[in-house]
């Protein structure tokens, strides 16, 4: 078990859990007074988490450049579009 857990994915898992709790605290418990700031923060955490899942759980950090680029592009474009439309709306 311990040998299996000796991977970069283990601390990443812990970070993802903490980030989820922070998002919940900020979004649901109104940990931040300004709704727009809270929403941008929560969405940014979400795409950062998705990025980490791709890189560490799906092992894309070792993938060929074309695949890593497509994935990073999805995260960047997705975050920019969602946050951008939210702020402009």
């Amino acid at each position: 078990m311990f040998a299996t857990a000796k991977t970069a994915a283990t601390p990443v898992f812990a970070i993802l859990v903490i980030a989820t709790l922070i998002s919940y605290s900020v979004g649901a418990e109104h940990g931040v007074d300004n709704n727009r700031v809270a929403t941008v923060l929560v969405l940014t955490i979400a795409f950062a988490k998705a990025y980490m899942v791709g890189l560490y759980f799906q092992e894309l950090r070792h993938a060929p450049l074309w695949l890593r680029t497509l994935f990073r592009g999805w995260c960047l474009v997705g975050w920019t579009a969602v946050v951008g439309i939210y702020l402009l709306g």
Binding site: N35, T39, Q58, P64, L67
Partner: protein, 226 residues
């Protein structure tokens, strides 16, 4: 077989021929952190290249739905805020945690088999992942039931239409993913695991992680944006 670990030789499935030879090679071993070093400089596609065409296409479709949701939200801010407040955020958070646990279980399961660390335990990791997925489905059932009990169906307003479409498509992915998890634990339990098995397992794992990844974005979008 001498190149596999003692554990795999005595306790777990026998890792056959080419996998044994590649136990520390590009197919079987977890890639090292040095992206530009050695044979990893060209990179390793987790699973089949074909699965990534599907995964990236799927993610693109979802990205379009995310954008469409947030765009329509700007035209119905009050409605979206009021409707979102009727959702049980705790359900969404628990489901996020369940999928994270399932994902790390799959990571450990793949490592157990691929690196021969403790292949006998690999099926257990996939079973744990399956149980987490089952927990998600049960959670979703209660959530849908509660909403429908309060006459909040997909026709109620634009928000609920999005809510049921986005979570419904995701749930379909999750159910397909559960079948994949069963496949993973069956393969992990095989007495002899060959290189194509490892590649198929990596493909399945990659799909399962997408189920997690999409929910990670869906949860704040539906439950937390205000």
């Amino acid at each position: 077989m001498s190149q596999t670990t003692e554990t795999s030789a005595s306790d777990g499935p026998e890792v056959s021929g080419s996998v044994a030879a590649a136990a520390r090679g590009p197919i079987a071993a977890e890639p090292t952190d040095g992206e530009g070093s050695g044979r990893w400089s060209v990179g390793h596609i987790p699973g089949e290249a074909g699965i990534w065409i599907f995964i990236l296409g799927d993610m693109t479709l979802y990205a379009a739905l995310f954008g469409s949701f947030i765009y329509d939200r700007s035209a119905h801010v009050e409605q979206f805020n009021t409707s979102s407040a009727t959702l049980h955020t705790a359900f969404g958070m628990v489901n996020t945690l369940l999928l994270l646990v399932s994902s790390i279980s799959v990571v450990y399961g793949i490592r157990s088999v691929r690196e021969g660390l403790n292949p006998k335990r690999a099926p257990l990791f996939f079973k744990l992942a399956f149980l987490c997925a089952l927990g998600f489905v049960v959670n979703k059932f209660f959530e849908y039931s509660d909403l429908l009990h309060n006459q909040l169906d997909p026709t109620e307003n634009t928000f609920y239409t999005y809510y049921y479409i986005l979570t419904g498509i995701h749930l379909t992915h999750l159910l397909a993913g559960m079948a994949v998890l069963v496949f993973l634990w069956k393969v992990a339990a095989k007495p002899k695991i060959a290189a194509p098995d490892i590649r198929a397992m990596e493909s399945g794992a990659s799909f399962w992680h997408v189920v997690d990844l999409l929910w990670i974005v869906l949860f704040p979008l539906l439950y937390l944006v205000s």
